[in-house]
């Protein structure tokens, strides 16, 4: 699957979450039907076969949820993106701080500028912490 197709699938999975859930449901149900048929062929009664199929499958809802979550996952590695964001915010914070230092501190604009610099700096720390 190409990166483009993976991205299209990712967008489709978010736009049509119900459709994806139905698709996963249909796939898992097909598996259970096949297992039930195999159990009947081995000599079980239809009821026994169905019960055994469900038991051997495990927690249907949990598995379905897990499959849907994987389908909705990002189609690329988040690390480089987060690193880029961290560097960009750090540069922005540096720029803000540099301007703030050179501004007069006795007017409202200067104080607001300093507060903005502190906010950007805090953002960079938060992004940095999430990265770890």
């Amino acid at each position: 699957m190409s990166r483009v197709k993976a991205t299209v699938n990712f967008i489709h999975a978010w736009q049509h979450a119900d459709e994806i859930a139905d698709e996963v449901d249909a796939e898992l149900c097909f598996h259970l039907q096949m297992r039930t048929s195999a159990n009947i062929a081995e000599g079980m009664t239809p009821d026994e076969a169905q019960l055994a199929a469900w038991q051997s499958f495990g927690d249907f809802d949990r598995i379905k949820l897990s499959c849907c979550e994987i389908r909705r996952g990002l189609p690329f590695n988040m690390k480089p993106l987060r690193m880029g964001l961290y560097i960009a915010i750090a540069c922005l914070a540096g720029g803000f701080a540099l301007v703030a230092v050179n501004l007069p501190h006795h007017n409202l604009f200067g104080v607001l500028w300093q507060l903005a610099a502190i906010a950007v700096l805090m953002c960079s720390f938060l992004v940095g912490r999430r990265k770890q």
Binding site: M1, A6, F30, R35, S56, S66, G73
Partner: protein, 110 residues
């Protein structure tokens, strides 16, 4: 896991799925059957864990899927190996051989 059958080591499920699909496209149920078949009925994949594994591999681009009609005329999702999946299988096989060899060497040490 059926009693008396060998359990799967962590990380081997992906390799076994890729190997099963290297022999041709299959639906999820068929993949479980093929793994049992090619392992001489020694390995049984936990049926539930197979599907998250398939979705994970598809997400990584190692397998692709499409809906088709199964052998019993029902709609089923068929999986096939992609080119990058085939490359990944070669890597996984080499890693596995190295790990198995090292483990045997360690076990034989006196």
């Amino acid at each position: 896991m059926t009693k008396g059958k060998a359990g799967l080591l962590q990380g081997t499920l992906d390799m076994l799925i890729l190997k099963a699909l290297a022999l041709g496209p299959l639906h999820g149920y068929g993949i479980g059957q093929r793994i049992a078949q090619i392992s001489g009925d020694e390995l049984r994949v936990e049926e539930g864990s197979l599907y998250p594994g398939l979705y994970r591999l598809e997400h990584r681009g190692w397998i692709d899927s499409e809906w088709d009609v199964s052998e019993n005329n029902q709609r089923a999702k068929f999986y096939k190996l992609t080119r990058s999946g085939r490359k990944q299988l070669i890597i996984e096989e080499k890693n596995w051989e190295r790990l198995a060899g090292a483990t045997m060497k360690a076990l034989r040490a006196s």
